[in-house]
């Protein structure tokens, strides 16, 4: 059984129909990329999985249970963690408090603060700084750190590299690759197709709310016509 199995979900924003019968699955210890143009429904897919948007139809089986229609906090407690596009660091809280907040409802097997700080030494240095004083890269580390300290079974990364300088992107990429090697499961949405493909084992392409392609990262890399059609200009 897959860690995540999505069957035929449909989602709306108000009365606008965004997702149409989307199917997908993520195996444990796998990195899956969800690609598509702006407005294709990538973020909405992640939000629907996490319960931020309630799917109007369909099933989201996570770790053996259907979580569609559950509120986000329950889904988070079951081990799914969205790292949102805007990162949403609590600006008035310190780095350490942000981690503490994330750890409040984490299970017993969660990462320790030390382990998170070891993994992101930069956060250790800035542990007393307030969230709003962090740079973009530091905020992204903290956002991922919040997922780690909760020991999330599945981390949903929404545009993790957006707006970051190339050198920072490289560091973060290395961190994510290391986590993946250690068995962390990711579902990544990323505009930077190259980066996403380097991280991912398998890919989905979504267009106008429909899943249009599924295949391994290599297969997609070798099909420029598919990429041009769904991702290019």
């Amino acid at each position: 059984m897959s860690l995540l199995e999505v069957q035929g979900i449909n989602s709306h924003y108000g009365d606008s129909h965004i997702l149409f019968d989307v199917d997908m699955r993520v195996e444990a210890n796998e990195v899956v990329a969800l690609l598509g143009r702006n407005g294709a429904g990538k973020s909405t897919t992640l939000k629907s999985l996490m319960g931020v948007v309630t799917p109007t139809r369909g099933q989201v089986r996570f770790d053996g249970q259907d979580v569609a229609g559950r509120p986000p906090f329950e889904i988070a407690r079951r081990g799914m963690q969205l790292v949102p596009e805007e990162r949403r660091i609590i600006g008035t809280l310190s780095v350490h408090e942000n981690l503490k907040l994330a750890a409040l409802s984490a299970g017993r097997d969660a990462w320790s603060f030390e382990r998170v700080y070891e993994f992101f030494p930069r956060l250790q240095e800035r542990r007393r700084s307030r969230g709003k004083d962090l740079s973009g890269g530091e905020q992204q580390m903290l956002a991922i750190g919040r997922a780690l300290i909760r020991n999330a079974k599945l981390i949903l990364l929404d545009e993790p590299f957006e707006g970051l300088a190339p050198i920072i992107v490289r560091d973060l990429m290395a961190s994510c690759q290391q986590l993946a090697r250690e068995g962390q499961t990711f579902l990544v949405v990323e505009q930077n197709v190259a980066a996403a493909l380097r991280l991912a084992d398998r890919c989905y392409l979504i267009e106008n709310g429909h899943m249009v392609y599924e295949g391994s990262a290599e297969a997609l890399r070798d099909s420029p016509e598919v990429m041009d059609r769904y991702l290019g200009v």
Binding site: S16, N38, G232
Partner: protein, 631 residues
């Protein structure tokens, strides 16, 4: 001709509510005594009702919940009482007028501060300014106001016309005087509510931001209605002193503002009659319950509980629920179910067009702001070095664009490229950190969304910004009124039907966006695609020379997309358009020239072919694929 209203009763008897009210006020002295009301209570109810007419325009129509109306009630009351008791002015009616004017002046002063904020803050601020007024009356001004003692001996009004001498002595004659003023106040308030001015007030309640972007100087309308409410308060306060022969300092108290709010909500906000009905309930309960032992002391407790129940379960109030119920029944029994009756609160209905000459001063030309006309050889829209930084985040950096007259420009770029920020700067919604925007060669930086719209640039939004409780037709009126009347006009006494060629303009735009058949449907029942078309229609209806479209196809099905692309092709004649859109097929089909933004900077410009073959653009979209591969 398509009439503006389907309300046949209103069409045949436009003055029916006024006449019925007049008749009721005239027969009241013969009926009320049998119901336990004496002249004093009847007059008090009318004073509260008059006070409430202004408050209802402010809260029920414009959506501004003020807890400080006592300030104006007290100001009008004390100015009137002071003038009439000291003999500075020996005509009580003149004193009332001066008192009302004083309240209006005070309203402008308070309004300038309180209206800087909205929602919760507005409620807190008006409450605080109300209390400030209470303290002003109580001590610093006590030399004139009598402080805690108030002013005693306020005379009753009288008429001296040489041949006619009449004194409105207390009792039913004074009731008659107050009833006459109430009626005049009611006629004016109803007139205001049905005027173009009133329509704008409702649009502010429904969607302030969009009303602003459609060319209405929202702050000035708010200040105007705040002042009107102050005027009603001032007159009512003056009459209170006259009725009681004494002006109490309690007029300034928070309880006065609170009572007004509660009465209006109990009776029904947005109905004009609501405050009067609420006052009747309030005073009746107080009078009747007081004679019942054990319950007498609890009359206000009972009222409080009724109030909580009404707010929780029947938010429209007594009148509002009744109107809603009647309309609901009527809508259910007639074929025309989607008849505009589903409008939750009363919105201006329009009278028939023919009697145009009777509708007061013609403000059409006076208020109108001329659009900036296209000039030869000058680009329609130009951005020079536009930059927007939020703290350390560089959303847009040094972007220059030049869009020729009649051009359809596509603006594309990956997520977070800064397209929305750029659009907001072009539309005047946010102020650039640096750089300028030129419309037909004229610098329009810093004129704000209202000014930009009046100059002839309009924007449709990515997320629908509609006036949800209005019908499609009424929605369309808002931009057209913005075009016809300019950013601000005080055409309060003019009827909507009296505005020249309004119907025709509305119908033409509805036809253009294919919504003629849905004209009288409430916006809330439209399908998503229809709402999208209405969204574009609102921007179109301002008759812009330059039209910005932010993701016009967002969230549409393939069929709706095709329809909308066809619509955009139709409307582009004679216009300059800039389109942000992620549907590349649509962009390449529509635009003859495309600008690409990436990470806040202009990456490339060119024809669709050039863009499609531009490696930098492909890299931006695919994340530097080719470079990485070679690396």
């Amino acid at each position: 001709m398509t009439g503006m209203t389907r309300d046949t009763a209103a069409l045949r008897w436009p003055w029916l509510p006024e006449l019925v009210t007049a008749a009721a006020l005239i027969v009241a002295p013969w009926i009320l005594p049998h119901l336990g009301f004496n002249a004093d209570i009847a007059a008090r109810i009318l004073i509260w009702g008059l006070f409430g007419l202004g408050f209802d325009l402010l809260f029920g129509f414009t959506g501004l919940l003020s807890f400080g109306q006592a300030a104006f009630y007290g100001t009008g009351g004390f100015v009137t009482a002071y003038l009439s008791t000291t003999g500075v002015i020996d005509n009580v009616i003149l004193c009332l007028i001066v008192g009302t004017l004083a309240a209006m002046v005070y309203g402008v002063i308070i309004g300038l501060f309180a209206l800087r904020r909205t929602g919760l803050y507005f409620a807190m601020l008006t409450l605080a300014f109300g209390e400030m007024s209470f303290f002003l009356e109580n001590s610093p001004l006590s030399e004139w106001t009598g402080g805690e003692n108030g002013i005693a001996g306020v005379p009753v009004p009288s008429i001296h016309l040489g041949f006619l001498e009449y004194e409105f002595s207390s009792g039913w004659p004074l009731y008659g005087f107050i009833a006459a003023l109430f009626w005049i106040g009611f006629v004016l308030a109803r007139r205001i509510s049905r005027s173009p001015f009133g329509m704008i007030l409702v649009s502010i309640r429904e969607n302030t931001g969009r009303a602003m972007a459609l060319g209405h100087a929202v702050q000035r309308y708010k200040l105007a209605v705040f002042t009107i409410a102050a005027a009603y308060g001032g007159l009512a306060g003056g009459l209170l002193g006259v009725l009681q022969n004494y002006m109490p300092p309690g007029a300034f108290a928070l309880q006065t503002s609170g009572q007004l709010v509660m009465q209006t909500v109990i009776g029904g906000a947005g109905t004009l009659f609501g405050p009067l009905v609420g006052a009747t309930v309030w005073l009746w309960l107080r009078t009747v319950l007081q004679y019942i032992p054990d319950i007498g002391a609890a009359w206000k407790l009972i009222l409080g509980i009724i109030f909580i129940l009404l707010v929780t379960f029947f938010r429209r109030g007594l009148c509002g629920e009744l109107i809603h119920w009647v309309r609901h029944r009527r809508a259910a029994t007639t074929e025309a179910a989607a008849d505009g009756h589903a409008v939750e609160r009363q919105v201006p209905e329009t009278a028939p067009a023919p009697e145009r000459e009777s509708s007061g001063p013609v403000t059409l030309e006076r208020g109108r702001v001329p659009q900036i006309e296209p000039a030869d050889g000058t680009p329609a829209l130009e951005a020079r070095g536009l930059t927007k930084h939020y703290g350390g985040v560089h959303a847009v950096t040094d972007v220059s664009l030049s869009i020729g007259v009649g051009e359809l420009r596509g603006l594309i770029g990956p997520n977070g490229a800064g397209k929305s920020t750029l659009f907001k700067m072009l539309a005047g919604e946010i102020t650039p950190t640096a750089g300028d925007v030129f419309l037909h060669g004229q610098n329009v930086s810093g004129v704000g969304p209202t000014g930009i719209c009046q100059h002839g640039l309009s924007k449709s939004y990515q997320i629908n910004q509609l006036f949800d409780s209005l019908t499609v037709r009424q929605n369309m009126l808002i931009p057209i009124l913005g075009r016809n009347r300019g950013p601000f006009a005080l055409d309060m006494l003019r009827s909507l039907g009296g505005v020249e060629r309004l119907d025709e303009q509305v119908d033409r735009t509805l036809d253009l966006v294919g919504l003629s058949a849905r004209a009288d449907a409430p916006t809330s029942v439209l399908a998503y695609g229809e709402k999208r078309r209405l969204e574009i229609g609102l921007a179109l209806a301002t008759s812009p020379t330059v039209l910005l479209l932010d993701e016009p196809l967002a969230g549409m099905s393939p069929a709706e997309r095709a329809d909308t692309v066809a619509l955009l092709k139709r409307v582009r004649r004679g216009r300059t358009m800039v389109v942000v859109e992620h549907d590349m097929d649509a962009v390449f089909e529509l635009a003859e020239y495309i600008s690409v933004l990436n990470e806040g900077e202009l990456l490339a410009e060119g024809t669709p072919e050039q863009i499609q073959n531009d490696d930098r653009v492909q890299n931006a979209y695919l994340g530097g694929m080719s470079e990485d591969e070679s690396a």
